[in-house]
Symmetry: C2
Subunit: 644 residues, 2 copies
């Protein structure tokens, strides 16, 4: 039985508490919320325009674009000494890694070195991070070769393959610069933390598998990157005669590098040992091969190696080619992956030193360095995590260490490349392999599992997608699951029954706060969804009606007389949502239950007024807080019972 | 300058207010929230299992499936009289409409009549709506012909076309029944109200354009449904000699039908006039053509018309055909559109009479009627809005009126079909045209525009998609925009600065409530998003930091000392969200600002504890309400200033 007739409620409510009525009036008479157009323009302005940087002289403007003009004037000799040492350490790690990553990208080795010359110099002029080490990185190299070799085979037509790589790099740089200029940095956010952890882990294993070719000295290998094809290719080639010398050489130097790293970790002062080990391995193994003429006995060597300055590649960009659309697509994916890595690296070291990076400015700097790179025979460069850590440990002070590194690489390109002719490929493979463990973060994967099972699904989705499918499939799986998660939360929101916390006026979820008590005759339900829309309105309506049935079954002493809908969480409502509320109201009325609405938010109350829903339920049934509704109803009940 | 050192805050907070601390403890010690698996099983159970209907005898079970067993026992002669009259009225409207819709579906006219026999009879046994009029409808007929004629041309190979229609109908019925059995009714919700309004409007215009063929007596017409192709075809055929007699005949009867409808609307008692007008038009025009032999002078007539009982079509279903996949796809789309219409019709009339329909049971009924229909030469049937309105006005009491209608149609199939040989096609076109205005709801489109501009975008997206593209494109556009809207709200949530309402302890958005006042030194920010995740975490972080800058610029007297993050709206957080909070905390600390968290919800506080974020900011900085934080800070400030 409903405790009170509806008319009574309406009539007696007004005089009860003028303050409560006043609060409700504040709510009902709140000003018009900003219109959609207003919101859109504000949002675009906030997105596109820089935050604080308004106006200023031409000097300020130039300093904004080229931060070096600002800090360069205070640059001191003591800083240069540190930067010089860090730059040399960096170069010794960078030269072998660059050659290795170039082979991973299926390019001739000198392109790796070229990429360690021009982009770091451009970044030094435009970038704001002080520690980041710019150059080729493993994941982007893999990404490029995995996607481009589907269009042009690097072994059949290496010239066109290389030209396409430059074109992709140009597009990647252009996208990166545009993202920065239009402040679209949020696009990088669409790869969630969990997706990156999974993707990097999968990519590391795929890269490692690719190195089996070099390490085992296999001639014929698959162009697919998935684990099944690669293992299949390895098993097949092991049936043919193969030369174990490559494997022995590669493994011994891999063990050497890993031991130096272990020592470097134990004793922080010996950080230069693991940084120097790769270069030392290259020199030593090259000497061994040269002196023993091992290349005649089956050891595979680099052979092709063109030295000299970066040649221009302006005329190699293929904008007229039929593959230009695909190149742009690959460029976009590379741009996002490269930015994700660079910004993650830059931010983590900036926060270690306690300064802040402007993501959008960084994107412009990285974009320009890749555009210029694509015109000077470089492929896509970004910030390398392992080398940035070395740079940081080596005590770099500013981005000058990148300049020192670039110049050192340039010098070695001019003078030392002839020596690299005899470098065994197995050594390059072992250098790449030694850099991979840093990409696999099992610890973080475990943390993600602990915190959020669906996030973990994103993580392993990306991981297995990369491993058994391809890099694009891995990324696609991660993005689809991530957005499906958002939609799932929206279409299946929860509702909670609220009770009053003891000795307070606070109403809370009775399952979360077992000490909260329900109020007899009043059912308070909070809709836990940011939007009440077509996708969840019917579901929420059914859930609420179900709660009424449950409550009546549970508390047989007094039936539900008032349903309080706490709308605090609902930021937006659409026409389907309003229709569902109207249906809910009708159905409650037919069961003799009053509907009261508590704390509808700005847009919601505005739309409910426009749709005449407020008129339908009566303006006196809209309250600012749940407390007010309960208070009003309890007083009414008392006076109602008193008059009985 | 920060007003108080951080240590001070930590030490002095505890003894301030034991009650406040106790409330925070309730929050921090709230029990483990239900795990993901638990939530999933609960959600599946709630979705799949019926709500109240648990157990019962075999009779109850049968009554659940065949509601006729329940109400049939109390069925009275007086009710039958009403149902009989309503059924006859319905049949008189249904016969001409069915023939017309069959031609719209590019089937021979008898199939429309067959569809008005078997499905209504099955529905009468299984359905719970009392008013719905079952049979072929315009939109589904259009949908079928538009999609199936892309696979098989109905003029070149009518036999295979018809067989494919039955196969599609079988799939549509199966999907509908499965949706109902697995309680997947929410799938129908994915077409939002706005999308349906736009889609129906577009479909009505497309159907109208298709009728130009019949009305103008054109021989060669396009198979495309978009407005450009149709108008192009019409203009081209008008260049050829054409016979205006068809047009004159069709238009005169169209005007007659529209006049009767106008009269029927003015005088509710004459509702039977518009209902009878189509049948009267068919009879009169057929007689005219028969007597004047007008078919020899260019009037196009129906000609093919096979009478008799519904033949079996069991052996016509093509499960082995290569098109079976496409048939299933078309079946799925038809199933959803047909269900949307049937449930909308059923619900609106049920709420007029004050009873409730179980959407899932209705789906099973409609699904079975279409499965049986597909075996007895029927194409996809559903509830027709226009005929249901006629049925309601004619005073139907139960679904028996559908039975009367079906039997009447059956009798006319057996005895009267020879007479329909001479029916002019232009009349069928004018009958379809006369039913279209009911599908275009300009008023509702205007309401949607007023309420929600983005919803209106969905509406016109569907409208123009159907008009200029095809029915599938229209649906796709509507669904994509609808879900993009949900994602957009999630990735660009708002944050609000809160102030205290005068003479209360309530904290509200200061833009919505201009009377609310900010508290000096404390910045209270509420995150208006249901989830703090990868897609919005960085955005929210930047917004909050921007608010701090703004606040410090605005209030130069006292800098922000404490930032209160009101998390009441945030129902869920992922690893990216937690990382963003950690970054926010670090950045605030570096600016000498305290971070306090108010009212983190169940899952959120649990994850913040797991991720050790609570330990990082200190458990004493987590509060149940904003009021508590402000209270704690103000007291601290007073004692702090006192000791200075």
């Amino acid at each position: 039985m409903s405790t009170l007739p509806a008319d009574n409620f309406t009539v007696e409510l007004q005089p009860l508490d003028t303050h409560r009525a006043e609060k409700a009036k504040w709510l009902l008479n709140s000003p018009e919320p900003p219109s959609l157009w207003h919101q859109i323009t504000i949002s675009i302005r906030q997105t596109v325009l820089p935050l604080g940087n308004t106006g200023g002289t031409a000097v300020c403007f130039l300093q904004g674009i080229f931060p070096i003009l600002k800090w360069g004037r205070n640059y001191k000799a003591a800083q240069f000494k540190n930067d010089f040492m860090a730059g040399l350490t960096l170069a010794s790690l960078c030269i072998p890694q660059s050659i290795g990553y170039a082979t991973l990208a299926k390019l001739e080795p000198q392109y790796g070195l070229y990429t360690s010359v021009v982009p770091p110099l451009i970044y030094a002029l435009m970038g704001s991070s002080r520690e980041i080490a710019i150059g080729p990185v493993a994941v982007v190299s893999l990404l490029l070769s995995a996607m481009i070799q589907k269009i042009v085979d690097p072994f059949v037509d290496p010239t066109n393959y290389t030209r396409l790589v430059f074109t992709v790099t140009f597009f990647a740089g252009t996208f990166q610069a545009l993202f920065g200029l239009f402040r679209l940095g949020f696009l990088v956010d669409f790869l969630s933390h969990a997706a990156i952890v999974g993707f990097m882990g999968g990519a590391a294993i795929v890269i490692g598998l690719q190195q089996l070719k070099g390490l085992l000295g296999i001639n014929y290998f698959t162009t697919n990157t998935d684990i099944v094809s690669v293992l299949d290719a390895v098993v097949k080639s092991l049936h043919n005669p193969w030369n174990p010398l490559n494997f022995v050489l590669g493994c011994s130097f891999l063990i050497f590098i890993l031991i130096t790293r272990f020592i470097g970790r134990r004793n922080r002062k010996l950080f230069w040992l693991p940084a120097m080990a790769p270069l030392f391995s290259v020199i030593l193994s090259t000497l061994i091969v040269y002196l023993t003429k091992a290349d005649k006995h089956g050891i595979k060597i680099v052979k092709h190696f063109k030295g000299g300055l970066n040649p221009s590649s302006v005329h190699q960009l293929q904008f007229g080619s039929p593959h230009v659309g695909e190149a742009a697509k690959i460029g976009l994916i590379c741009a996002i992956i490269a930015l994700t890595e660079a910004i993650a690296v830059g931010r983590s070291f900036a926060s270690l030193k306690g300064y802040q990076l402007d993501g959008n400015k960084e994107m412009v700097a990285i974009g320009f360095m890749n555009i210029v790179g694509s015109l000077t025979s470089c492929y896509t460069a970004t910030g390398s995590f392992s080398r940035t850590a070395v740079n940081f440990s080596a005590g770099c002070e500013t981005v000058v260490s990148n300049m020192v590194m670039a110049i050192t690489v340039l010098i070695s390109l001019v003078f030392l490349t002839r020596l690299l002719y005899y470098t065994p490929i197995a050594i390059l493979a072992s250098i790449i392999l030694s850099a991979l463990p840093g990409l696999i973060d099992l610890n973080e994967a475990y943390n993600i599992w602990k915190l959020d099972k669906l996030d973990f699904l994103v993580c392993i989705g990306a991981f297995f997608g990369v491993l058994f499918g391809s890099v694009e499939i891995g990324l696609l799986i991660a993005i689809v699951i991530s957005f499906a998660k958002i939609i799932l939360h929206s279409i299946r929101p929860s509702t909670e029954v609220q009770g009053k916390l003891p000795a307070t006026d606070i109403f809370c979820d009775i399952t979360q706060f077992p000490m909260a008590t329900k109020i007899s005759g009043i059912l308070i339900i909070r809709v836990n969804s940011g939007t009440l829309c077509f996708a969840n309105a019917n579901f929420i309506k059914e859930r609420i009606l179900k709660s009424v049935i449950d409550e009546n079954e549970e508390n047989t002493r007094e039936r539900v007389g008032v349903l309080v809908l706490d709308m605090s969480n609902v930021m937006n409502i659409d026409t389907s949502g309003i229709i569902a509320l109207e249906e809910l109201h009708k159905k409650l009325i037919s069961q003799g239950i009053e509907l009261a609405v508590a704390n509808p938010r700005w847009t919601v109350i505005n739309k409910l007024k426009l749709a005449k829903f407020v008129d339908k339920i009566g303006a006196e049934r809209v309250f600012l807080t749940v407390e007010d509704v309960v208070d009003a109803f309890l007083r009414l009940k008392m006076t109602g019972l008193g008059s009985c």
